[in-house]
C-alpha cells in the first residue's frame, strides 16, 4: 500500500501480459455437473503425507463420509464425494504424471447431491487450536492449485509473529475464472472463511487482493465489508504472475519474502479466495471437501464454463459433458502457464484442479515452432518476476553447469512461473531446462 497506491493499483516489477481468454467463462453462473458412474479418488490430492485409508474394497459409503484420515499433521482426510460402493483400491494415473494409490468408487445411479454425513462444529466457540483442527477435518487444501493443507498454512509457529492475512483473488492465469465467479456468487461464504482464517492465526488485519480485470468482484466484496475495517479489498495490476504469493505480498504491502523463505518470515499468511470461500461454506456445517469449482474452457470445448465437479471425476467424463471438439488436442489441468498437461482420460479432478483447459490444433501448432539459438535479446530478464537472468541460466543449462546455475545465478529462487519461456523469441524451453537442473542438483545433494 502506501506509496504504491499513489500511482494506481499496486504491482510488482516485471511479469508478462498474456491474452486473458477469460470472457468465455467469466460471465456465466457456476453450474453443476452430474455424478459420473465412477470416481477415481487419489489418496494424495494434497502436498504432504497421503491420507490413511479407512475403507475396504466392496464397502458401501455415503456422500460426505470420510474415506481416509489425515496421516499426521501435514496431511488431510478425504471424504466420499458421492454415495456408492468401493469397487477397487489401486494405482491410477494422476495429474503429476506418476501413478498414485486411488479409491475407485462406483457411484449409485440414484445417488443424490444430499450430504449424508457431517460433523458440525460451533466456530464461535473454537480457540485457535480448535479452529486449526476443524479446518484439518474439512480436508481443506489450497484450491488455487498448490493443494497445500490449509490448516498447516494457518498454523503459526510460536517463534513467528504474523500481522496480516492476504487473501489471494488475483487469478492471474489466463483462461481461469473459477475464483472470479466464486467471489461474485459466494461473497458471504468468503467473508466467513476470512474470519475463520483470522481466528486461526490471530491476525488483526486482512487484505483481499484482486486483479483490476475483476472490478465487479472488488465492488461486490467491498459492499460486504460493512463496518469491518480490519478487512480491506484492494485492486492490483492485471499481470501474470500477480497471483504468486511473493508477488502479491509485494504488490499489496511492499514487503519482500526473503530468498528461500516463506510469507510467514515477514509476518504474512496467504490464502486463496476459493479456499476460504469453501471453508466458510463447509466448516460451520461440518462437511468435508467433496467437490470444487473448475473452469472448463479453451478453444477445444463446446460449452465452456465454471462447473462444480465432484472430486475424483475423470476428465474424460467432464469433457463428454461439456462437449469437446475432436482432432489434435492438448489437455491441461489448471492454467496454461503452470498447469501440467495430461494424456489419460481417467485422470481425475482433484482438490488442486482449478481448471481443465483444452487447446486444439492451431494453438498446438504455434507451440511446435522451431527452437532458435539464444540471441541475448534480454526479454526474459525483463519478464522474470524474481529478477533472475534466465538467458544466462539457459546458456549454462546447455553446458550442463547446473551447480553454477544454483550458486551464481540463484536457480533455486525460480518458481517456474513460465514468464521467460513465454516471451522467448527463440522458443527455448527455459522452464524445462531449469526443472531438470534443479532435479539433478537435488539428486546430487542427496
Amino acid at each position: 500500500m502506501g506509496i504504491f497506491n499513489l500511482f494506481g493499483a499496486g504491482t510488482f516489477r516485471h511479469g508478462v501480459h498474456p491474452p486473458s481468454h477469460k470472457a468465455a467463462t467469466a460471465h456465466q453462473p457456476i453450474r453443476r455437473l452430474p455424478f459420473p458412474d465412477h470416481l477415481v479418488i487419489p489418496l494424495n490430492q494434497h502436498i504432504g503425507k497421503p491420507a490413511k485409508l479407512l475403507v475396504k474394497k466392496g464397502q458401501e459409503v455415503v456422500r460426505g463420509e470420510p474415506l481416509a484420515s489425515a496421516d499426521g499433521f501435514v496431511s488431510v482426510p478425504i471424504h466420499a464425494p458421492a454415495t456408492g460402493r468401493i469397487r477397487d483400491i489401486r494405482l491410477m494415473p494422476s495429474a503429476r504424471g506418476e501413478q498414485a494409490m486411488a479409491i475407485i468408487l462406483h457411484v449409485y445411479a440414484a445417488a443424490t447431491q444430499e450430504v449424508l454425513w457431517r460433523n458440525p462444529v460451533d466456530p464461535g466457540a473454537l480457540d485457535p487450536q480448535g479452529m486449526i483442527q476443524a479446518i484439518q477435518d474439512t480436508g481443506m487444501v489450497g484450491l488455487g492449485g498448490a493443494a497445500f493443507p490449509s490448516h498447516v498454512k494457518l498454523s503459526i509457529p510460536e517463534e513467528k509473529s504474523v500481522d496480516t492475512l492476504v487473501v489471494n483473488g488475483c487469478e492471474c492465469e489466463p483462461y481461469l475464472s473459477c475464483d472470479h465467479r466464486t467471489m461474485l456468487e459466494h461473497p458471504r461464504e468468503l467473508m466467513r472463511g476470512i474470519r475463520y482464517a483470522m481466528q486461526a492465526t490471530g491476525v488483526s488485519k486482512a487484505i483481499v487482493g484482486v486483479e483490476e480485470n475483476k472490478m465487479d468482484a472488488v465492488k461486490l466484496l467491498r459492499e460486504h465489508l460493512h463496518a469491518q475495517s480490519d478487512i480491506s479489498v484492494e485492486a492490483v495490476e492485471t499481470k501474470y504472475p500477480q497471483g504468486s504469493e511473493k508477488m502479491l505480498i509485494k504488490s499489496l504491502m511492499g514487503r519482500e519474502v526473503p530468498a528461500g523463505g516463506i510469507p510467514l518470515d515477514i509476518g504474512v499468511v496467504v490464502n486463496n479466495v476459493g479456499t476460504l470461500a469453501a471453508l466458510g461454506k463447509l466448516l460451520p456445517v461440518g462437511e468435508g471437501l467433496t467437490e470444487r469449482v473448475v473452469t472448463v474452457t479453451g478453444p477445444g470445448v463446446e460449452k465452456p464454463g465454471n462447473y462444480i465437479i465432484p472430486l475424483g471425476t475423470p476428465i474424460g467424463y467432464v469433457l463428454k459433458q461439456v462437449g469437446y471438439i475432436g482432432g489434435e488436442n492438448e489437455f491441461i489441468l489448471g492454467g496454461p502457464m503452470m498447469g501440467p498437461s495430461v494424456s489419460d482420460m481417467e485422470t481425475p479432478v482433484t482438490k488442486g484442479t482449478s481448471g481443465l483447459l483444452v487447446l486444439n490444433e492451431p494453438e498446438i501448432e504455434q507451440e511446435t515452432r522451431r527452437i532458435w539459438p539464444c540471441i541475448k535479446c534480454g526479454r526474459c530478464l525483463n519478464a522474470c518476476p524474481m529478477h533472475l537472468n534466465p538467458a544466462y541460466l539457459g546458456l549454462l543449462a546447455a553446458k550442463r553447469e547446473y551447480e553454477e546455475m544454483a550458486q551464481t545465478y540463484h536457480l533455486n529462487d525460480c518458481f517456474e512461473c513460465g514468464c521467460c519461456s513465454y516471451v522467448c523469441p527463440s522458443n527455448i524451453p527455459l522452464v524445462q531446462h531449469f526443472r531438470i537442473a534443479k532435479a539433478i542438483n537435488r539428486e546430487q545433494a542427496a
Partner: protein
C-alpha cells in the same frame, strides 16, 4: 468416448508470446529497407548494385559457412547483415571489394563463432572493419549525392576488376557534382578544415558519406518503428546518443571553436545508424537492465573521443566493436538484484 483423440503432452508454459526470432528479424529487414532505398535514390545504379552484391555475398557465405546448421537463410539475419554492411560502405565502393566485405562479415564475424546468437561482434561491422583495413583508400572515396545521370551511369570505381586498384574518382566527382563538391564528409570537413555542416543538411542527407550514414531522419524513423514494436531495446540507442551528446557538450563547452557541438556530433557520420541498428544488435549487447545503459554510454563516449582525438574522422564502428567486446564483462558486473536477496552477487 467414440474414438481416442490424438493427445499432445507438453511442458509448461503452454502458450507463447507472438513474437519469434523470424518475426523480429523480418521486421528489422523491413525497417532497414527505407534506408537502403534512400541510399539508392541518392546515389543511383552504383548503390543498387552494391546493395545487391553485398547482400548476395552475405547470404551465400551464410549458406556455405553455416551449412552444418542446415539452411539458416530463413532466419533473415544474414540478409540484415548484408543490408547494414552496405549502408556503411561508400556508394562507389568497387563491387569485388563488396563481395569480400560480405564474406568477411559472415565468415569472420559470425560463422567463426558458431552462427546466429554465438557471435561476439556485430557481423556487419566486422566486415566493414576488415575492408577498412584492407582497402583504406577505397573506403574513404566519397561520391557526391544526387549527381546527374545517376540512374543511367555508374560511378567509375564500381566496376573495378577484381584485385585491381579502383580508378581515381576525384576528377569525375568534379564533373558530376551539382555544387562545389570537395569529396569530404562533414566529419572530415570538421576535423581537417574546421568547416561545420548545418544540422539540417545532416538530417536530410544533403552531404557526402557512406550509403546509409546520411539522412539521420530516416534512420531515426526506422529505428523508432522497431522500438515501438518492441523489437529493439530503445534504451541502447538512447544511451548511445546521450553518451555522445554529453561528451561532445563537455568538450564544446571547454573550447567551442576547436570542438563541434552536440547536435553536429549526433547527426553526422554513422552515429545514428550505429546507435539504432548496430549497437542495438541483441546478440552483441548486454542483457541486464543496467548493462545496456552502461554499454550505450560507453559507445557514445568512445565515439566522440575517437572523432576528436583519433587519427580517423569516424569512430562509431570501433566504439561499437569495443562495446561488443566488453559486453560479457558488463553483464557480469551488472547482474540484477534477485527478488528477496539483499544485494546482487
Amino acid at each position: 468416448m467414440a474414438k481416442k483423440p490424438a493427445i499432445e503432452l507438453r511442458t509448461t508454459p503452454h502458450i507463447h508470446a507472438p513474437q519469434d526470432v523470424i518475426m523480429i528479424m523480418r521486421n528489422v529487414v523491413y525497417a532497414s529497407l527505407p534506408m537502403a532505398a534512400w541510399a539508392v535514390w541518392q546515389y543511383g545504379l552504383s548503390a543498387l548494385m552494391l546493395l545487391l552484391v553485398v547482400v548476395a555475398s552475405c547470404m551465400l557465405s551464410e549458406r556455405v559457412l553455416n551449412a552444418k546448421q542446415g539452411n539458416t537463410l530463413g532466419d533473415w539475419s544474414a540478409a540484415i547483415t548484408g543490408i547494414l554492411l552496405f549502408l556503411t560502405l561508400p556508394p562507389g565502393f568497387p563491387l569485388w571489394m563488396g563481395v569480400i566485405a560480405g564474406f568477411s562479415a559472415i565468415g569472420l564475424g559470425k560463422a567463426l563463432f558458431g552462427g546466429l546468437g554465438m557471435n561476439v561482434f556485430n557481423p556487419a561491422l566486422v566486415g566493414r572493419a576488415f575492408v577498412q583495413a584492407a582497402f583504406p583508400v577505397a573506403i574513404t572515396s566519397w561520391t557526391p549525392a544526387f549527381f546527374d545521370g545517376r540512374f543511367t551511369t555508374l560511378i567509375p570505381s564500381t566496376l573495378t576488376a577484381p584485385f585491381m586498384i579502383p580508378p581515381e574518382t576525384g576528377e569525375w566527382n568534379m564533373q558530376v557534382a551539382v555544387d562545389a563538391f570537395t569529396g569530404a564528409t562533414p566529419l572530415g570537413l570538421q576535423k581537417f578544415d574546421a568547416v561545420s555542416t548545418p544540422v539540417l543538411d545532416l538530417l536530410t542527407g544533403m552531404t557526402a558519406g557512406s550509403a546509409g550514414e546520411s539522412a539521420a531522419l530516416i534512420i531515426l524513423v526506422c529505428g523508432l518503428y522497431l522500438a515501438f514494436r518492441g523489437m529493439l531495446d530503445w534504451r541502447i540507442p538512447v544511451a548511445v546518443m546521450a553518451g555522445t551528446a554529453i561528451t561532445a557538450a563537455v568538450f564544446h563547452f571547454i573550447d567551442p571553436v576547436a570542438y563541434p557541438d552536440a547536435m553536429f556530433m549526433l547527426f553526422s557520420g554513422g552515429l545514428m545508424l550505429g546507435a539504432w541498428f548496430m549497437a542495438s544488435d541483441m546478440v552483441g549487447s548486454p542483457v541486464t537492465p543496467a548493462g545496456v545503459i552502461i554499454y550505450g554510454l560507453l559507445i557514445g563516449f568512445v565515439t566522440v573521443i575517437i572523432r576528436l582525438f583519433g587519427g580517423l574522422t569516424e569512430g562509431v564502428m570501433y566504439a561499437i566493436l569495443l562495446g561488443n567486446a566488453v559486453t560479457p564483462l558488463i553483464d557480469q558486473v551488472t547482474q540484477p538484484r534477485v527478488f528477496g536477496h539483499r544485494k546482487s552477487s
